[in-house]
Symmetry: C2
């Protein structure tokens, strides 16, 4: 893999509060279960290194075996597949707080490649180490399941996008999805965000040609639903946009751990 690895420096500097808030994976995990300080420590113990990956480098290559999990701290990536005829389909966009290697590492061989869309920093964890953690702290296995389910739910919406939504609807849906996922880890304002993807990437995600995606984007602007300056996207009429896109946010409830223990 094209990464520069450096040993995991578990800096204990910085107030502890910051750690809970600044690590996007912790933010997402804590939406699902309560995490204690010991939990945090055993999670850290399992991280073997922190790495940086440069823009345009592949994080994962299709067809290769890979038994690592990458927790994305910063930066963006795209999971994609190249077809024989040269076409590319982007399966999903990877944002901070996501885990790369989730479907991939669980299979014999990765089913898709993942390319860094910006410079990234991520934490590496061996699959066996994480499985070990799950055995000691079943909580983490459940978090993994829940995150996988969230991801599946996003994939499902993507299938609907590409299968039955019109181009405008698809694009509106993509923008809303990205916005809500960024917001989940504190990377978006209420009505605006920085879109880290080019029109080409979005067209490859939505199964459209670049010119048509461009036209569709222009259409959304003309209708006054969004505004764009540079990378900044502003949502001008969220209600209309959501209606157009058939958008409903994907939010998972908490893992019913205490209830389970009560039953137990």
């Amino acid at each position: 893999m094209n990464v520069s690895v450096r040993p995991s420096t578990t800096r204990v500097s910085g107030a502890l509060k910051d750690i809970w808030r600044s690590d996007p994976f912790l933010i997402r995990a804590r939406q699902l279960v309560d995490l204690t300080l010991p939990d945090l420590q055993s999670l850290r113990a399992v991280i073997e290194a922190e790495a940086t990956v440069k823009r345009r480098r592949d994080l994962v290559l299709e067809g290769y075996e890979c038994s690592k999990l990458y927790f994305i701290k910063e930066g963006f990536a795209a999971r994609y597949k190249l077809l024989r005829n040269g076409k590319r389909q982007i399966v999903n966009f990877v944002l901070p707080g996501d885990i790369v290697g989730m479907p991939g590492s669980f299979l014999d061989r990765a089913a898709n490649s993942v390319i860094a869309v910006s410079d990234m920093t991520l934490q590496i964890c061996a699959l066996e180490a994480f499985v070990g953690l799950c055995c000691r702290q079943p909580k983490f296995g459940l978090v993994l399941s829940w995150l996988a389910a969230q991801e599946a739910a996003h994939y499902a919406e993507h299938i609907i996008d590409v299968g039955r939504r019109t181009p405008v609807e698809r694009l509106a849906h993509l923008l809303l999805e990205i916005h809500s996922r960024l917001a989940l880890v504190g990377l978006a304002d209420e009505f605006a965000f920085n879109l880290p993807f080019t029109q080409e990437m979005m067209s490859d995600a939505l199964g459209l040609s670049v010119p048509h995606l461009n036209r569709t984007l222009a259409h959304l602007r003309a209708e006054g639903l969004i505004a764009i300056n540079g990378r900044r996207v502003e949502i001008l009429d969220r209600k209309a946009l959501e209606l157009l896109a058939h958008f409903q946010p994907i939010q998972s409830g908490r893992i019913p751990l205490s209830e389970a223990l009560a039953v137990n």
Copy 2:
């Protein structure tokens, strides 16, 4: 929900061997981890009832909260979403051995509906009970993650189908996927299987119109790749079909439990 429930009769009749082989969920779980007799028993303890659902009944309704897991023993279903304009997108087909409620129950409210495509029998398990089981036996939490990852991998292929594959390629891919998933739980011959879905369902899965799906099917037959009599599909030229579809089987490796314990 439109099901007729009867209390779970844990019949201990029949040789034990049969149970391992006849329950499709056990078959799939055992592809991932070793299961002991006590494991089997604690799994059973968590099943609260067995139910039958009639053809065309909805198992899950979009937008409703639902905190049950359904382990499919027999029969087929389709996970779908209806759009405002009346179009339907089928997100995936549910086969014996699958768990329904996986993304659904983990979210606040189900994101799609699931309709029974044939009469079905399934086992019901409360989400909290299963979470409890995972706490006592972390193994099951991992199985859940792995199954979710497999499902996500299938969804990813489906996105590629609908986004960038041509109609023939899509259809070829769908047929191969169904065949391999059926084979996984012992419901298909090496080169033939019973297709439980109508052309309308397949067109709704692949984002095509019914007439065009029909033509495409005719095309595959004309090319001598498959043969169809009634519901029976025969794969005449598997190599060519796989090439056409860019098909690569999704098979997950085993969960590295022993390795994890060694590290531990």
